[in-house]
Protein backbone atom coordinates (compact mmCIF):
# COMPACT_ATOMS: atom_id res chain seq x y z
CA UNK A 1 0.00 0.00 0.00
CA UNK A 2 1.10 3.57 -0.73
CA UNK A 3 1.72 6.25 1.90
CA UNK A 4 -1.41 8.28 2.69
CA UNK A 5 -3.63 5.64 1.13
CA UNK A 6 -7.01 5.42 2.85
CA UNK A 7 -7.72 2.16 4.68
CA UNK A 8 -11.21 0.64 4.68
CA UNK A 9 -13.40 1.62 7.60
CA UNK A 10 -13.25 -0.65 10.62
CA UNK A 11 -16.84 -1.79 10.23
CA UNK A 12 -16.56 -2.48 6.54
CA UNK A 13 -13.41 -4.52 7.02
CA UNK A 14 -14.99 -6.47 9.89
CA UNK A 15 -18.02 -7.19 7.73
CA UNK A 16 -16.03 -8.29 4.73
CA UNK A 17 -13.72 -10.53 6.74
CA UNK A 18 -16.58 -11.64 9.00
CA UNK A 19 -14.68 -10.94 12.15
CA UNK A 20 -15.59 -9.01 15.26
CA UNK A 21 -15.65 -5.19 15.10
CA UNK A 22 -13.67 -5.02 18.31
CA UNK A 23 -10.96 -7.30 16.91
CA UNK A 24 -10.65 -5.05 13.85
CA UNK A 25 -10.57 -1.94 16.00
CA UNK A 26 -7.75 -3.41 18.04
CA UNK A 27 -5.80 -4.30 14.92
CA UNK A 28 -6.01 -0.68 13.76
CA UNK A 29 -5.03 0.57 17.19
CA UNK A 30 -1.97 -1.65 17.21
CA UNK A 31 -0.95 -0.57 13.71
CA UNK A 32 -1.28 3.00 14.85
CA UNK A 33 0.80 2.34 17.94
CA UNK A 34 3.52 0.87 15.75
CA UNK A 35 3.35 3.99 13.61
CA UNK A 36 2.31 2.15 10.46
CA UNK A 37 -0.95 4.05 10.09
CA UNK A 38 -2.44 7.32 11.31
CA UNK A 39 -6.04 8.27 11.96
CA UNK A 40 -7.79 11.51 11.15
CA UNK A 41 -10.97 11.77 13.24
CA UNK A 42 -14.03 11.78 10.99
CA UNK A 43 -11.98 10.89 7.91
CA UNK A 44 -10.50 7.48 8.56
CA UNK A 45 -7.14 5.76 8.84
CA UNK A 46 -4.27 6.20 6.40
CA UNK A 47 -0.95 4.51 5.70
CA UNK A 48 1.94 6.39 7.30
CA UNK A 49 4.65 8.07 5.23
CA UNK A 50 7.50 6.10 6.72
CA UNK A 51 5.61 2.84 7.07
CA UNK A 52 8.02 0.97 4.83
CA UNK A 53 10.94 1.79 7.06
CA UNK A 54 9.01 0.73 10.14
CA UNK A 55 7.89 -2.48 8.51
CA UNK A 56 11.51 -3.23 7.70
CA UNK A 57 12.44 -2.67 11.32
CA UNK A 58 9.71 -4.89 12.65
CA UNK A 59 10.74 -7.63 10.25
CA UNK A 60 14.30 -7.39 11.54
CA UNK A 61 12.93 -7.66 15.06
CA UNK A 62 10.99 -10.75 14.08
CA UNK A 63 14.12 -12.28 12.58
CA UNK A 64 16.03 -11.66 15.80
CA UNK A 65 13.25 -13.28 17.80
CA UNK A 66 13.23 -16.38 15.60
CA UNK A 67 17.01 -16.74 15.87
CA UNK A 68 16.79 -16.35 19.62
CA UNK A 69 14.18 -19.10 19.70
CA UNK A 70 16.54 -21.32 17.74
CA UNK A 71 19.34 -20.64 20.22
CA UNK A 72 17.10 -21.55 23.17
CA UNK A 73 15.95 -24.70 21.40
CA UNK A 74 19.55 -25.66 20.63
CA UNK A 75 20.49 -25.25 24.28
CA UNK A 76 17.57 -27.35 25.45
CA UNK A 77 18.57 -30.28 23.21
CA UNK A 78 22.26 -29.92 24.08
CA UNK A 79 23.59 -28.64 20.76
CA UNK A 80 26.78 -26.68 21.40
CA UNK A 81 27.32 -23.12 20.13
CA UNK A 82 29.96 -24.36 17.69
CA UNK A 83 27.62 -27.02 16.29
CA UNK A 84 24.88 -24.46 15.96
CA UNK A 85 27.15 -22.11 14.06
CA UNK A 86 28.27 -24.94 11.79
CA UNK A 87 24.65 -25.97 11.17
CA UNK A 88 23.74 -22.40 10.32
CA UNK A 89 26.60 -22.10 7.84
CA UNK A 90 25.58 -25.38 6.17
CA UNK A 91 22.00 -24.20 5.87
CA UNK A 92 23.10 -20.87 4.40
CA UNK A 93 25.24 -22.63 1.84
CA UNK A 94 22.37 -24.94 0.91
CA UNK A 95 20.15 -21.93 0.28
CA UNK A 96 22.61 -20.31 -2.10
Amino acid sequence: MEPDQLLPSIRLLAKELQISVITTKRAYEELEKEGLIYTVPGKGSFVSGHSEELLEKSKTRLLEEKLQEAIILAESVGVSREDLERLFTVLLEDES
Binding site: R11, L12, Q18, I19, I22
Partner: protein
Protein backbone atom coordinates in the same frame (compact mmCIF):
# COMPACT_ATOMS: atom_id res chain seq x y z
CA UNK B 1 -22.52 5.32 24.93
CA UNK B 2 -25.96 4.43 26.26
CA UNK B 3 -26.54 0.68 26.27
CA UNK B 4 -29.20 -0.71 23.97
CA UNK B 5 -29.83 -3.52 26.41
CA UNK B 6 -29.17 -3.54 30.11
CA UNK B 7 -29.95 -6.17 32.74
CA UNK B 8 -29.42 -5.36 36.39
CA UNK B 9 -29.79 -7.94 39.14
CA UNK B 10 -32.34 -9.91 37.19
CA UNK B 11 -33.81 -12.79 39.18
CA UNK B 12 -36.39 -15.42 38.47
CA UNK B 13 -37.30 -18.35 40.68
CA UNK B 14 -38.65 -21.64 39.49
CA UNK B 15 -39.10 -24.66 41.78
CA UNK B 16 -36.10 -26.45 40.30
CA UNK B 17 -34.08 -23.62 38.81
CA UNK B 18 -33.43 -19.97 39.42
CA UNK B 19 -31.76 -17.07 37.69
CA UNK B 20 -29.65 -15.31 40.22
CA UNK B 21 -28.82 -11.59 39.92
CA UNK B 22 -28.12 -11.66 36.20
CA UNK B 23 -26.47 -8.44 35.01
CA UNK B 24 -24.89 -7.46 31.70
CA UNK B 25 -25.24 -4.79 29.07
CA UNK B 26 -24.80 -4.33 25.34
CA UNK B 27 -23.97 -1.17 23.42
CA UNK B 28 -25.31 -0.28 19.95
CA UNK B 29 -23.30 -1.57 17.02
CA UNK B 30 -22.07 -4.83 18.48
CA UNK B 31 -22.79 -8.53 18.50
CA UNK B 32 -22.97 -10.35 21.81
CA UNK B 33 -22.79 -14.10 22.04
CA UNK B 34 -24.78 -15.48 24.93
CA UNK B 35 -23.40 -18.90 25.71
CA UNK B 36 -24.03 -21.63 28.22
CA UNK B 37 -24.96 -25.29 28.44
CA UNK B 38 -28.49 -26.54 27.87
CA UNK B 39 -30.55 -25.49 30.87
CA UNK B 40 -28.08 -22.84 32.04
CA UNK B 41 -30.67 -20.07 31.80
CA UNK B 42 -30.18 -18.60 28.31
CA UNK B 43 -33.77 -18.98 27.17
CA UNK B 44 -35.16 -17.90 30.53
CA UNK B 45 -33.10 -14.72 30.36
CA UNK B 46 -34.27 -14.04 26.81
CA UNK B 47 -37.89 -14.66 27.73
CA UNK B 48 -37.54 -12.17 30.59
CA UNK B 49 -36.12 -9.57 28.20
CA UNK B 50 -39.11 -10.15 25.91
CA UNK B 51 -41.44 -9.97 28.93
CA UNK B 52 -42.73 -13.46 28.22
CA UNK B 53 -42.01 -14.41 31.81
CA UNK B 54 -42.70 -12.47 34.99
CA UNK B 55 -39.63 -10.85 36.51
CA UNK B 56 -39.12 -11.65 40.22
CA UNK B 57 -36.41 -9.11 40.88
CA UNK B 58 -34.09 -6.65 39.20
CA UNK B 59 -34.54 -4.49 36.15
CA UNK B 60 -34.33 -4.89 32.38
CA UNK B 61 -33.92 -1.86 30.14
CA UNK B 62 -34.18 -2.06 26.37
CA UNK B 63 -33.40 1.20 24.51
CA UNK B 64 -33.45 2.72 28.00
CA UNK B 65 -37.11 1.69 28.41
CA UNK B 66 -38.53 -0.62 31.06
CA UNK B 67 -39.16 -4.15 29.79
CA UNK B 68 -42.53 -4.36 31.55
CA UNK B 69 -44.00 -0.87 31.36
CA UNK B 70 -42.90 -0.10 27.83
CA UNK B 71 -43.32 -3.55 26.36
CA UNK B 72 -45.21 -2.44 23.24
CA UNK B 73 -42.77 0.29 22.30
CA UNK B 74 -39.87 -2.09 22.84
CA UNK B 75 -41.39 -4.81 20.70
CA UNK B 76 -41.79 -2.41 17.80
CA UNK B 77 -38.04 -2.03 17.77
CA UNK B 78 -36.93 -5.57 18.61
CA UNK B 79 -36.58 -8.44 16.16
CA UNK B 80 -37.00 -11.82 17.74
CA UNK B 81 -35.75 -15.01 16.12
CA UNK B 82 -36.59 -18.09 18.07
CA UNK B 83 -35.22 -21.59 17.65
CA UNK B 84 -38.67 -22.99 17.12
CA UNK B 85 -41.25 -21.84 14.66
CA UNK B 86 -43.76 -19.44 16.20
CA UNK B 87 -45.81 -18.76 13.07
CA UNK B 88 -49.01 -20.41 11.90
CA UNK B 89 -47.91 -23.58 10.16
CA UNK B 90 -50.96 -23.77 7.91
CA UNK B 91 -50.35 -20.39 6.30
CA UNK B 92 -48.01 -19.48 3.51
CA UNK B 93 -45.49 -16.77 4.33
CA UNK B 94 -47.40 -14.37 2.14
CA UNK B 95 -50.50 -14.85 4.30
CA UNK B 96 -48.49 -14.88 7.52
CA UNK B 97 -46.81 -11.61 6.61
CA UNK B 98 -50.19 -10.01 5.98
CA UNK B 99 -51.02 -10.95 9.58
CA UNK B 100 -47.86 -9.68 11.24
CA UNK B 101 -46.91 -6.67 9.12
CA UNK B 102 -49.72 -4.37 10.33
CA UNK B 103 -48.45 -4.70 13.91
CA UNK B 104 -45.30 -2.81 13.04
CA UNK B 105 -45.25 0.94 12.51
CA UNK B 106 -41.95 0.76 10.63
CA UNK B 107 -42.84 -2.11 8.34
CA UNK B 108 -40.95 -1.83 5.07
CA UNK B 109 -42.55 -4.09 2.48
CA UNK B 110 -39.83 -3.48 -0.06
CA UNK B 111 -37.14 -4.44 2.42
CA UNK B 112 -39.16 -7.53 3.34
CA UNK B 113 -39.49 -8.53 -0.32
CA UNK B 114 -35.80 -8.11 -0.90
CA UNK B 115 -34.99 -10.51 1.93
CA UNK B 116 -37.59 -13.04 0.77
CA UNK B 117 -35.92 -12.88 -2.60
CA UNK B 118 -32.41 -13.07 -1.23
CA UNK B 119 -33.26 -16.02 1.05
CA UNK B 120 -35.12 -17.72 -1.82
CA UNK B 121 -38.21 -18.27 0.31
CA UNK B 122 -41.18 -19.73 -1.59
CA UNK B 123 -44.09 -17.39 -1.00
CA UNK B 124 -46.81 -19.84 -1.91
CA UNK B 125 -45.82 -22.83 0.18
CA UNK B 126 -47.23 -23.49 3.64
CA UNK B 127 -44.84 -22.76 6.47
CA UNK B 128 -45.14 -26.34 7.73
CA UNK B 129 -43.36 -27.56 4.59
CA UNK B 130 -40.38 -25.30 5.30
CA UNK B 131 -37.04 -26.64 6.49
CA UNK B 132 -35.60 -25.36 9.76
CA UNK B 133 -33.26 -23.08 7.88
CA UNK B 134 -36.10 -21.58 5.84
CA UNK B 135 -38.18 -20.93 8.96
CA UNK B 136 -35.25 -19.19 10.59
CA UNK B 137 -34.69 -17.09 7.49
CA UNK B 138 -38.35 -16.14 7.40
CA UNK B 139 -38.23 -14.99 11.06
CA UNK B 140 -35.13 -13.02 10.18
CA UNK B 141 -36.79 -11.40 7.16
CA UNK B 142 -39.70 -10.30 9.37
CA UNK B 143 -37.31 -8.97 12.01
CA UNK B 144 -35.25 -7.03 9.48
CA UNK B 145 -38.27 -5.68 7.63
CA UNK B 146 -39.47 -3.73 10.64
CA UNK B 147 -36.05 -2.18 11.03
CA UNK B 148 -35.39 -3.79 14.40
CA UNK B 149 -32.62 -2.05 16.30
CA UNK B 150 -32.03 -5.02 18.57
CA UNK B 151 -32.07 -8.55 17.21
CA UNK B 152 -32.57 -11.16 19.88
CA UNK B 153 -31.88 -14.63 18.61
CA UNK B 154 -32.43 -17.70 20.72
CA UNK B 155 -30.35 -20.58 19.36
CA UNK B 156 -30.88 -19.46 15.77
CA UNK B 157 -28.28 -21.83 14.38
CA UNK B 158 -29.23 -25.01 16.22
CA UNK B 159 -30.03 -27.76 13.75
CA UNK B 160 -28.87 -25.72 10.75
CA UNK B 161 -26.28 -26.75 8.22
CA UNK B 162 -22.97 -24.85 7.91
CA UNK B 163 -24.08 -23.05 4.74
CA UNK B 164 -27.18 -21.51 6.29
CA UNK B 165 -25.23 -20.71 9.46
CA UNK B 166 -22.60 -18.86 7.50
CA UNK B 167 -25.30 -16.94 5.58
CA UNK B 168 -26.83 -15.90 8.88
CA UNK B 169 -23.49 -14.68 10.21
CA UNK B 170 -22.97 -12.69 7.03
CA UNK B 171 -26.30 -10.95 7.49
CA UNK B 172 -25.60 -10.20 11.13
CA UNK B 173 -22.34 -8.48 10.27
CA UNK B 174 -24.26 -6.40 7.73
CA UNK B 175 -26.91 -5.51 10.29
CA UNK B 176 -24.45 -3.89 12.68
CA UNK B 177 -22.82 -1.78 9.95
CA UNK B 178 -24.73 1.38 10.77
CA UNK B 179 -23.51 1.35 14.41
CA UNK B 180 -27.09 1.71 15.57
CA UNK B 181 -28.19 -1.89 15.80
CA UNK B 182 -27.08 -4.72 18.04
CA UNK B 183 -27.49 -8.46 18.13
CA UNK B 184 -27.88 -10.74 21.14
CA UNK B 185 -27.24 -14.24 19.92
CA UNK B 186 -27.64 -17.24 22.20
CA UNK B 187 -25.94 -20.43 21.21
CA UNK B 188 -24.22 -23.48 22.50
CA UNK B 189 -22.42 -23.83 19.18
CA UNK B 190 -19.55 -21.58 20.13
CA UNK B 191 -17.74 -21.90 16.81
CA UNK B 192 -20.40 -19.62 15.31
CA UNK B 193 -19.25 -16.93 17.68
CA UNK B 194 -15.49 -17.46 17.54
CA UNK B 195 -15.12 -14.97 14.74
CA UNK B 196 -18.04 -12.64 14.65
CA UNK B 197 -18.93 -11.91 18.28
CA UNK B 198 -17.64 -8.75 19.93
CA UNK B 199 -18.74 -9.68 23.42
CA UNK B 200 -19.27 -13.02 25.10
CA UNK B 201 -21.53 -13.56 28.09
CA UNK B 202 -21.35 -16.96 29.77
CA UNK B 203 -24.20 -18.16 31.93
CA UNK B 204 -23.99 -21.25 34.12
CA UNK B 205 -26.61 -22.55 36.57
CA UNK B 206 -28.50 -19.29 36.36
CA UNK B 207 -25.47 -17.11 37.09
CA UNK B 208 -23.34 -14.96 34.82
CA UNK B 209 -19.74 -16.18 34.97
CA UNK B 210 -18.45 -13.37 32.77
CA UNK B 211 -19.54 -10.80 30.19
CA UNK B 212 -16.48 -9.45 28.37
CA UNK B 213 -15.05 -8.52 24.98
CA UNK B 214 -14.16 -11.74 23.21
CA UNK B 215 -10.60 -10.62 22.48
CA UNK B 216 -9.98 -9.99 26.15
CA UNK B 217 -11.19 -13.48 27.03
CA UNK B 218 -8.97 -15.10 24.46
CA UNK B 219 -6.03 -13.16 25.86
CA UNK B 220 -6.75 -13.66 29.54
CA UNK B 221 -7.19 -17.38 29.35
CA UNK B 222 -4.55 -19.85 28.25
CA UNK B 223 -4.97 -23.51 27.49
CA UNK B 224 -2.28 -25.57 29.16
CA UNK B 225 -1.27 -29.16 28.53
CA UNK B 226 1.39 -30.98 30.48
CA UNK B 227 2.43 -33.92 32.64
CA UNK B 228 1.14 -34.87 36.08
CA UNK B 229 4.34 -33.65 37.73
CA UNK B 230 3.30 -30.05 37.08
CA UNK B 231 0.29 -30.45 39.34
CA UNK B 232 2.23 -29.93 42.56
CA UNK B 233 0.04 -27.09 43.78
CA UNK B 234 1.98 -24.19 42.29
CA UNK B 235 -0.43 -23.88 39.39
CA UNK B 236 -3.44 -24.09 41.67
CA UNK B 237 -3.99 -20.31 42.06
CA UNK B 238 -4.12 -19.83 38.27
CA UNK B 239 -6.18 -22.88 37.32
CA UNK B 240 -9.74 -22.14 36.28
CA UNK B 241 -10.54 -25.71 35.41
CA UNK B 242 -8.79 -28.83 34.32
CA UNK B 243 -9.13 -32.43 33.35
CA UNK B 244 -6.61 -35.11 34.21
CA UNK B 245 -6.06 -38.11 32.05
CA UNK B 246 -3.80 -41.12 32.33
CA UNK B 247 -0.87 -39.36 30.71
CA UNK B 248 -1.15 -35.82 31.91
CA UNK B 249 -3.62 -32.99 32.18
CA UNK B 250 -5.29 -30.28 30.17
CA UNK B 251 -6.53 -27.15 31.81
CA UNK B 252 -7.40 -23.49 31.54
CA UNK B 253 -5.29 -20.92 33.37
CA UNK B 254 -5.06 -17.15 33.77
CA UNK B 255 -1.95 -15.01 34.39
CA UNK B 256 0.20 -16.18 31.50
CA UNK B 257 3.49 -14.74 32.80
CA UNK B 258 3.25 -16.32 36.23
CA UNK B 259 2.21 -19.65 34.73
CA UNK B 260 5.11 -19.52 32.32
CA UNK B 261 7.48 -18.90 35.22
CA UNK B 262 6.11 -21.94 37.05
CA UNK B 263 6.13 -24.43 34.19
CA UNK B 264 9.13 -23.21 32.20
CA UNK B 265 9.29 -25.22 29.01
CA UNK B 266 7.54 -28.22 30.49
CA UNK B 267 4.03 -27.49 29.28
CA UNK B 268 2.33 -26.51 26.06
CA UNK B 269 0.53 -23.18 26.24
CA UNK B 270 -2.05 -22.40 23.58
CA UNK B 271 -4.76 -19.88 22.84
CA UNK B 272 -8.05 -21.50 23.81
CA UNK B 273 -11.21 -21.54 21.74
CA UNK B 274 -14.47 -20.27 23.19
CA UNK B 275 -15.47 -23.88 23.60
CA UNK B 276 -12.42 -24.58 25.78
CA UNK B 277 -13.22 -21.53 27.89
CA UNK B 278 -16.85 -22.49 28.25
CA UNK B 279 -16.04 -26.10 29.14
CA UNK B 280 -13.40 -25.36 31.74
CA UNK B 281 -15.19 -22.41 33.30
CA UNK B 282 -18.37 -24.38 33.82
CA UNK B 283 -16.74 -27.64 34.82
CA UNK B 284 -14.54 -26.03 37.46
CA UNK B 285 -11.59 -27.50 39.23
CA UNK B 286 -12.13 -31.20 38.91
CA UNK B 287 -9.06 -32.69 40.54
Amino acid sequence: MKPILELRGVSKKFPEFSLDEVSFSLEPGYIMGFIGANGAGKSTTIKLIMNLLHLDGGEIKVFGLDSRQDELEIKQRVGFVYDENHFYEELTIKEMTMVVAPFYKNWDQQCYQSFVHRFELPEKKKIKTFSRGMKMKYSLAVALAHDAELLIMDEPTSGLDPIVRSELLEILSEVIQDERKSVLFSSHITSDLDRIADYITLIHNGQILFSEPKDQLLENYILIKGGHDLLDGRLQPYLVGMRENQFGFEGLVTNKEQVQAVVGGKAILETPTLEDIMLFCTRGKVV
